[in-house]
Symmetry: C2
DNA sequence: ACCTGAACACCGTTCAAGT
DNA sequence: ACCTGAACACCGTTCAAGT
């Protein structure tokens, strides 16, 4: 099996999917590909370029814009498609955040999303504001204020002590886990929260446009 | 000058402020403190805990909630204070995003912000939604879709080629830089964009509450 | 010209030997 | 009991030696 940039990237993605991004090293990747570490540098300038390429693989999984439906729905669907792509690769949000230069693949994705706004009658300026407003949601993620799994454990261990220090967090956790004290439940519905925020933003963005 | 956890954290923050987070290593930090690397491990369990402590220093710079003013303004001011703290330490957004477990300092900040919503008459559930909606803006930052400085250079170098591939990005850049072709200008006003999105969110959050 | 082993310049952290 | 030098198990990448 010949080495190619494409195969290097695909195997890197698979490796990160399995073991997390922190366990991905050039040396381990080379080992997995049954190749000497330096052989990778034929296909990728350095580790940064490897990570850029991995992001491109994920962004490449985002569906193209739907046509023939209202703009708000089309953008909504596209962002939810981005979210699905990101969720398939749990490491990707963190890696996307760490990139300095957008790659052509990322530029194409952003440009096409901008085009959806422009076609819906948004000015260049309002399109600009809309992108800033949607922020990382364009990439299908938001910074989670809590890692819910960890929080569950923490709350469980010291709920009494926390009640005094963080009453609102405890109240929220109790509500979310549908259990007043022992905190055993399904956790918070991230998908619902993502869509709630997304719809609120799209609504506000639409209102901004119509106000002008 | 005796070593203490506090001094370790303060010097670590100063070092990251100067040289960026990627240049901060336990060994360099120890060197700066004129101490053997292993001496740090008396005050900090490992590098993760060092980073947690550095985040605490930044979060500690966020002003406490203002009292006696309308909730929406108070929350607005607090989040803008968080933004000012983060901007003082350019590495901190990235480090905050990388944390797994919130520290007591971070929990206290979030709990007190939740309290502001609860006092304004928001239900526990709506407070929950509001936090998800504000996302990383609570910490004073948003994921920037472009690093503007780099984009400026890229656009400058290949504007003609980009016009074909990324027409909407070029249109936006031209508008933002107030120059149709040569792209020499002030760049986009991140502070304006942050406040635009923040106000849109707070407006939408208020409407959600009043709809119930 | 291409490929690659060894080496370089680092890491964070363990551990055992010193005080 | 505390402190710390050396060592360990890694990194990404350079470079010169081999084909």
């Amino acid at each position: 099996v010949a080495l190619s940039r494409d195969r290097v990237l695909r195997v890197a993605v698979a490796l990160a999917d399995e073991g997390g991004i922190e366990s991905l090293s050039m040396r381990k990747l080379a080992h997995k590909l049954r190749v000497v570490p330096m052989a990778l540098y034929k296909h990728v300038a350095d580790k940064e370029e490897l990570l850029d390429g991995m992001v491109d693989v994920v962004v490449g999984e985002i569906d193209p814009p739907a046509t023939g439906i209202p703009w708000r729905n089309a953008i909504r669907q596209r962002i939810l498609s981005a979210r699905r792509a990101l969720l398939r690769h749990p490491w990707s949000a963190q890696v996307i955040e760490s990139r300095r230069h957008p790659t052509p693949v990322v530029l194409a994705y952003l440009d096409s999303t901008m085009g959806m706004f422009r076609e819906a009658g948004f000015s260049v300026d309002l399109t600009h504001h809309a992108l800033h407003t949607l922020g990382s949601r364009l990439y299908g993620f938001t910074q989670e204020v809590f890692n819910d799994k960890n929080t569950e454990v923490d709350v469980q261990a010291t709920v009494a002590e926390m009640q005094g220090k963080y009453p609102h967090i405890v109240a929220l956790a109790s509500s979310v886990y549908h259990d007043d004290a022992s905190v055993v439940g399904r956790g918070c519905d991230d998908q619902f929260e993502f869509e709630f925020a997304l719809d609120l933003l799209l609504e506000g963005i639409e209102r901004s446009r119509d106000r002008r």
